[in-house]
Amino acid sequence: MIDARIEDASYPSRPGALRGVGLRLRPGEAVLVLGRSGSGKTTLLRALSGILREAGGSLKGRVSVRGSIYVVPQEPWDGILGYTPLMDVALSLSASNRDPRAADSYLGRVGIGSLWDRPCHLLSAGEARRLNLASFSAFAPDVLLLDEASAFLDEGGKGILVEQVEEFLSSGGSAVIVDHDPTPWRGVVSETLILEDGAPTDGIPPAPEPRWEKAPKGDLVAEVEDLWFRFPGSRWILKDVSLSVSRGEVVAVLGPNGSGKTTLLRILLGALRPSRGRVWASRPLMVPENPLLFLSGARTEDEAPEELLSEFGLPKGRACRTLSSGERRRLAIAAALREGADLLLLDEPTAGLDPWSRSGVVEAIGRAREHSGIVIATHDPGLASMADRTIELGGG
């Protein structure tokens, strides 16, 4: 199904982004690709999908992929074409010459049947990811390329993802799975490819286990009392939420996809007004799920000084847009730390990060709490377990 020998894949800004990679997959087989952020994993997927040149890159070697390809990208919204979930799945069915009227059942299978007519820009990241899975399933490709597809998914969503991939493989498909977390894929993949600095390697040293020093609890930086919120005409997203955050404290906000975690952060930022209740926050700053919205500088050094860049393992002099998704998030968090807000709001700060980057980010959050109170919306159970407190949102 896939027979590739990539001698060299490069971008103008990153020569040798991927070198000396060979891959052969037969029907029903899957490979798991592991590696740090920026190690060439996404470049491999681009080379296999035939879009490397359109992304401004060049390829030496040969890539042969038999049959149709479907990509589930790292950013969930990038995988959506239709303006409502029903339309997106219907497009997949219609493109693969199947009956588009079956779209409903695919949405139901990933647990978003009730959102069939919701404009896609109103979906949460997790809901958007579930839609990606429904559309992939509806397209029924021969080859599936998954780029960090488990990021943004709650445990239920991850279960659906693995189940769908297993079903796809058993029907004779082949998959290339890029994921930082190999755990869900044990028993699913037939081989593992580890990349380090653009080339295959036998193994990479494990990431250090991040730790936080206990920080003294300081003055109050945010207080929420009896908060209710809903967008006009929609159901209540937040109901009777109360919360206080002190300097030196890390509060993790947990909850399934669509439970209002990001909405709570936006209310604390002052961007949304509560429908009811009282919200007070001192000098809040937010790093959104899409870190590019935080990064207004053109190059890395516009956002953070050299020592901070090196502390976060980030290159100097690179255009922010050319950074990998993990690098962007680390840069945004580094910049936010430099600006020293009283209240730091982090939306899924570890989603899509490899264990090494994650470790650096988690340690940086620990350092930041010496100066700020921190509220983190996350699906990362490891990060949540390190927080001083957790609050669980669900149905408000």
């Binding site: 681009r46 999908s49 035939g50 879009i51 359109e54 992304a55 390809i69 479907y70 990509v71 990208p73 950013e75 919204w77 990038d78 995988g79 959506i80 074409l81 239709g82 303006y83 409502t84 029903l86 339309m87 219907a90 497009l91 997949s92 069915l93 219609s94 493109a95 010459n97 199947r98 009956d99 588009p100 009227r101 779209a103 069939w116 007519d117 404009p119 896609c120 820009h121 397209f139 490709p141 967008f231 006009p232 005409g233 936006r266 930022l269 002052g270 961007a271 809040p284 700053l285 937010m286 790093v287 899409n290 590019l292 919205l293 935080f294 990064l295 207004s296 053109a298 847009r321 600006e339």
Partner: protein
């Protein structure tokens, strides 16, 4: 920047808050004459035409997305105030009747801006896609893509303005961040969806489920026709 962020959020709420429901699902032959009447009546009948046209626009909102009415009214009020105030000022400078000019412009601008928003609200990318699919399967994807990306870009711009304002940065930085995010999304969507973009809707697109009654829209059309004839 807070005003701009609120404005982009208001535009999002006024026209992009709904999927395929209400008058969006009605056929073009019913929607187009309704829109034409809403635009023409203020010119044909003066203030009464304006009242009828504005009422019809609000009625279309009511049957399609009642939750978007406050945002639609806010946008119309802003547009109307801007045009009537500048018109009145110009009339004053030229020695004409400032109040009369301002009121006349307001009576035409208010229904027009409401009708414009109602037209966008009633536009169905699905129906447009199905019409275009007769030309080519790939063309059918584009109306959907526009309706998918326009609110996303507005939503990203809103969030960028909120985040950059909190950082103490200005509009230039917010727009730069939003532009970078949009370019990145364009590349990302192209990459992830290339097979679907190349193949298009080869089997057309199904009518969204739960076909609604078009009776409310036809009633509006009948009322506007009657008012126009009388």
């Amino acid at each position: 920047m807070g005003i701009l962020s609120a404005l982009s959020q208001t535009i999002l709420r006024s026209v992009f808050l709904t999927g395929e429901r209400g008058c969006r699902r009605c056929p073009c032959w019913a929607k187009l004459p309704t829109m034409a009447f809403m635009v023409l009546l203020p010119y044909i009948l003066g203030p009464w035409g304006s009242l009828a046209s504005s009422s019809a626009a609000l009625y279309l909102y009511l049957i399609t997305a009642p939750e978007a009415i406050p945002a639609a009214l806010l946008i119309s009020a802003m547009v109307t105030t801007w045009f009537s105030a500048t018109g009145a000022l110009t009339a004053q400078l030229l020695g004409g009747g400032a109040v009369e000019t301002g009121v006349t412009i307001a009576l035409r601008t208010l229904p027009l801006s409401l009708a414009g928003q109602a037209a966008i609200l009633c536009f169905s990318p699905w129906a447009a896609g199905n019409i275009l699919s007769r030309l080519s399967p790939t063309a059918s994807v584009y109306p959907m893509l526009v309706w998918r990306l326009a609110p996303q870009a507005l939503s990203d711009a809103t969030l960028a303005m909120e985040v950059q304002a909190a950082r103490g940065r200005g509009l230039k930085e917010a727009l730069s961040a939003a532009l970078a995010a949009s370019m990145d999304r364009r590349d990302g969507i192209l990459w992830a969806n290339l097979p679907r973009l190349r193949l298009g809707a080869r089997r057309g697109l199904p009518p969204p489920r739960r076909s609604p009654s078009c009776l409310p829209l036809l009633l509006a059309l009948a009322a506007l026709t009657l008012i126009g004839l009388l």
